[in-house]
Symmetry: C2
Subunit: 242 residues, 2 copies
């Protein structure tokens, strides 16, 4: 049978692609982290669901693959399943010669939905970095931040902080402050596509002291990022051609 | 009136979000580059359209903003309008105190749709770089490639080549080969979500001699990227925890 790994987009049902919606409508069972299940349940109230807690990703993926031996299953992830989601782990646990077909259905990740909320901060090259060190050593994350700073990338930070994990955003800003000024324009998108959706702009010097929770996605401008009409815009280069 | 800047996703209508579809259904006029218009016209055959050629982006955006003074307009971009699309330029040309409201509706960009096609190559931090030097000097692009190499980012290359612009992919690979081995797993996604959709895997040493056209998106793995079941997977780090 088939296991469809579905990115459900930023939040509300309208952020979901037609392909994602079709996969959820067609499957027999929807699996996922409880909070993501809650986002799709209103659209598919009559489906069967299997939900697991956060941090039990291996268990959740093993269960979904087992279920998919005898029924069509959708594993739902917020945003895109291929960006810090379950797509990779499912491939790791999947048996290519076994009875389950695996397909990934792309969704709108927070880099894109947050950018749309803030303006157009990713009009030039950008780097996406997670500040969670649960699965990656902090020194690797620091190396990435240095690479992003050196390359003058616009930067999107996922998982900038949580109750247990504080200080990471400040350390990330301090590294980027070695490469760009404290007045570099930054933005924080919170609860994208959900109740309490908020967009804030602030300079990098202020971002370092900002308390960003787990529903925040952080955008750090590069040398071409400006504020226009209250929005965060990274100039693509057309102004130089005009 | 309103100008909605709509990312239509990778190609077929099923790659479009519900919000994008709703904006196109609600507007009076759909503007865009001819090739992108052709992708949405089958879904909205009765709409009025205004299409312009490639490279006339400033003209296209000025016209859309002018039209939006008296009617509701949607500007359609393939993928996501905030990634090398029209979102930034429209903000540059927009008059915040004028009669036009500007909104960006996020779409699935080729980094995500191509990744889903190839497997799960972006499960760790990644950098998105365009190899087009039409608007950005090549030395800036080289600096970004060095930053991505130094940071061990998985790399997504947009605009890897065209008939007029050859040799850029080879130069990009040669820079990354200073930081990672020739056996680094890479992938090329072509015509994502369209007729002729193709996914190819190859080592970095072979990618440097690959002729990538303008409908290709190129993925270069990092130190954690492996081939599993014929797919390109960047390991997230769960295997170290198990």
């Amino acid at each position: 049978m088939k296991l469809s790994v579905v990115g459900s987009g930023p939040g509300r049902a309208e952020g979901m692609t037609g392909a994602a919606r079709a996969a959820l409508a067609a499957c027999d069972l929807i699996c996922g982290y409880t909070a993501y299940i809650d986002l799709v349940r209103p659209s598919f109230p009559d489906k069967r669901y299997f939900s697991t807690a956060m941090k039990s990703e291996v268990e959740r993926c093993r269960a979904a693959l087992k279920f998919a031996e005898s029924q069509n299953v959708a594993m739902v992830c917020s945003g895109d399943a291929g960006v810090y989601g379950m797509a990779g782990l499912l491939y790791e646990l999947w048996e290519p010669s076994g009875p389950v077909t695996l397909e990934i259905i792309a969704g709108v990740t927070a880099a894109q939905s947050g950018a749309a909320l803030l303006g157009a901060p990713l009009m030039q090259d950008y780097a996406v970095i997670s500040l969670s060190d649960l699965l990656v050593d902090w020194d690797v994350i620091e190396k990435r931040l240095h690479g992003a700073g050196m390359g003058d990338f616009a930067v999107v930070l996922y998982n900038p902080g949580s109750k247990k994990r504080t200080g990471h955003l400040q350390r990330a800003c301090d590294i980027l402050l070695q490469y760009r000024g404290g007045d570099t324009l930054c933005g924080v998108a919170e609860n994208i596509g959900r109740d309490g959706e908020t967009a804030r702009l602030m300079p990098l010097s202020q971002l370092r002291d900002f308390s960003a929770g787990m529903f925040c996605t952080v955008f750090i401008g590069n040398g071409k990022t400006v504020e226009l009409g209250g929005k965060m815009i990274t100039l693509r280069g057309y102004e130089a051609k005009r």
